[in-house]
């Protein structure tokens, strides 16, 4: 059984309301192979029993290595596809079973920024058309009003009005990501899924984009689910961070707490992998991850991290650890903390 009180942290006390978004026992399985008679024989559990919540105005970071299911989690939350099981509650209303028609009012409130600034903008449309698309869907703007609104949005993300008539291929990666951001805030959303919005950018540009996202959050009262595969930038923007490993949340905590007191061995390894910008500091290679990722298709018993864990014991092979509270607002799924 899911225990909702499990994931309540200090964020709850801060707002004193129900969270804007609450995900309960989310699972998304992909069929890999079907038998001749249409029975599913092989399943990839991309997301398996993940629960978390995000408060209004908060940024929840989701980190983990490639293929751990963080993007699938994000895309499930905005209902890009049907989920296998679980609940996605937006202001207390479950979106999981809704069809596209029922979802439409939520589509306006939930927006997304994707990773690849080169494929997230339709190459055949100019900036004006790209940004005004969400405005067209939700109406309320005449043609000239729309143009004014687009220019206002462009200026807000640090682009110029003359950029409105250009095509995506005329911009750099950072500028394209700004266009994506302008487009995502055009419809006046409350929640924005940031699916690795900075991973494809230069480090110098990353900081600019992160700062801009933070400014917009302040001004517009946005709530972010921020997905990234490294911890360095996420720390600055997130209030709380969830760490995912092979479809499961292994640790959830406040950003500072996670950095100073990582509880799960996987989080420790991720933190150790952050490069330190000083050539004199040696990388503690013994704390970097060794070993291979087990196949996500096989249903393994026990802790999924044990093949790479320096502390693995016999119990880890027999029993899968569940997310448990180890400090206020800090949860970890590891047998070490019992």
């Amino acid at each position: 059984m899911s225990d909702n009180s499990l994931l309540e942290g200090r964020g709850q006390a801060r707002t004193g309301k129900t969270p804007l978004l609450e995900v309960r026992r989310l699972a998304k399985h992909f069929t890999i192979e079907k038998s001749l008679f249409g029975r599913t024989t092989k399943v990839l559990k991309a997301v398996d029993d993940v629960s978390f919540h995000i408060h209004r105005g908060e940024t929840f970071g989701l980190v983990g290595e490639s293929g751990c299911g963080k993007s699938t989690t994000g895309r499930s939350v905005i209902r890009l596809f049907d989920i296998t099981s679980g609940e996605i509650c937006y202001e207390g209303i479950d979106l999981a079973g809704m069809n596209e028609r029922q979802l439409k009012p939520y589509r306006q409130k939930m927006q997304a920024i994707f990773q690849d600034p080169y494929s997230s903008l339709n190459p055949g449309m100019n900036v004006m058309e790209l940004i005004s698309e969400p405005l067209e869907i939700y109406g309320g703007y005449s043609r000239s009003n729309r143009r004014d609104r687009v220019i206002e949005l462009l200026e807000r993300v640090g682009l110029k009005r003359e950029h409105a008539d250009r095509y995506p291929h005329e911009f750099s990666g950072g500028q394209r990501q700004r266009i994506s951001i302008a487009r995502s805030i055009a419809s006046g959303p409350e929640f924005v899924l940031c699916d690795e919005p900075i991973s494809a950018l230069d480090v110098s540009v990353q900081a600019q984009v992160v700062n801009m996202l933070e400014d917009l959050q302040q001004e517009l009262g946005l709530t972010y689910l921020f997905i990234a595969h490294d911890l360095s930038m996420v720390r600055h923007i997130s209030n709380r961070i969830g760490v995912m490993y092979m479809g499961k949340l292994v640790e959830v905590s406040f950003s500072e707490e996670l950095y100073t007191h990582p509880a799960h061995p996987y989080t420790e390894a991720l933190l150790a992998a952050i490069p330190i910008p000083d050539p004199k500091v040696l990388m503690p290679t013994d704390r970097l991850l060794q070993g291979e990722l087990p196949s996500p298709i096989d249903a393994a018993i026990g802790c999924k991290f044990r093949s790479r864990c320096p502390y693995a014991s016999r119990r880890c092979g027999e029993e899968e650890p569940v997310l448990k509270r180890i400090a206020p607002g800090h949860y970890a799924a590891c047998h070490l903390h019992e």
Binding site: F114, S119, N122, P123, R183
Partner: protein, 281 residues
């Protein structure tokens, strides 16, 4: 299509002279077909005293067995052959694109149903189907366009389906879904414009095939009804006089050959221009 693709296309045409020649040939044929009424002779007036004349200054392509000016007939034949080619291509591209995009976008059971239906359709010998349908319907340009169009969209829809499956995973299509755009709008504003290059290539190659089909049907006497000419019916007519005046078969034959060849060449150039990796081989 955006500007980048056009630039690629123009540079392809510049480097590949054969493509330029193909384009020039087709341009001449189209202009000639449009200018057919300017021909000095009427294509259907019979002069029994001028039968089977060889090419001369008076009759550039000679005359046929009824003494009709063969050059004028070739020009009017070009009108029929090219317009049937283009119209039937439009019919099959429209159907093929819509079915292919729907099949690829929705996937699942609908996709399986549509694709298996196409498999069945493609395994029927379409030429016999055409002959049978033609026997029951009134012959004419519209009939032949519809018959050919309705029987040649399957391969296009397969290509479009494959492209749609790859395009629908691009992030701008995902974004369109997230932002709540209707499926209709996603397919027509995001997916189909992205696969226009593929459709252009398929359409160009399709025209060549369609012109061949029309010629074959007309050759068998099932296409355009006499006295109007098409290149295929001219060939049909010429087969009885191959010994007396072989140029009667030569001219329509050459016209069909060069047109089909030019369209095939052009299709290849379009493909190379839109998939820059191919032409580096």
């Amino acid at each position: 299509m955006n500007r980048m693709r056009w630039t690629l296309l123009v540079s392809q045409l510049r480097t590949q002279k054969s493509a330029l020649i193909a384009l020039i040939i087709l341009g001449i044929y189209v202009l000639a077909a449009l200018a057919a009424p300017l021909a000095p002779h009427d294509p259907n007036t019979i002069h029994l005293d001028e039968r089977l004349l060889p090419p001369s200054g008076q009759h550039w392509f000679g005359t046929d067995d009824n003494g009709r000016d063969y050059f004028a007939r070739a020009l009017y034949g070009a009108r029929v052959s090219l317009s049937v080619g283009i119209l039937a291509m439009l019919v099959s591209v429209t159907i093929g694109t819509i079915i292919g995009a729907i099949s690829g976008y929705f996937g699942g059971k609908l996709d399986t149903f549509l694709m298996r239906s196409i498999d069945i359709g493609m395994s029927l010998p379409s030429f016999f189907l055409m002959l049978i349908l033609n026997a029951y319907l009134k012959p004419g340009v519209v009939t032949i366009v519809l018959i050919i169009g309705l029987l040649s969209w399957m391969s296009i829809s397969r290509i479009v389906r494959a492209e749609t499956i790859s395009v629908k995973e691009r992030e701008y299509v995902l974004y369109a879904r997230v932002s709540g755009q209707s499926t209709f709008r996603i397919i027509f504003r995001h997916i189909i414009p992205s696969i226009v290059p593929t459709i252009v290539v398929a359409a160009t190659l399709n025209i060549a095939g369609v012109i061949m089909m029309e010629s074959s049907l007309s050759f068998l006497g099932l296409g355009i009804s006499p006295p109007d000419a098409s290149w295929g019916s001219m060939l049909n007519n010429a087969k009885g006089y191959i010994g007396e005046n072989p140029t009667l078969a030569l001219f329509p034959g050459l016209l069909i050959l060069t047109t089909v060849l030019a369209f095939n060449y052009l299709g290849d150039v379009f493909r190379a221009a839109f998939e820059p990796k191919v032409n580096r081989r």
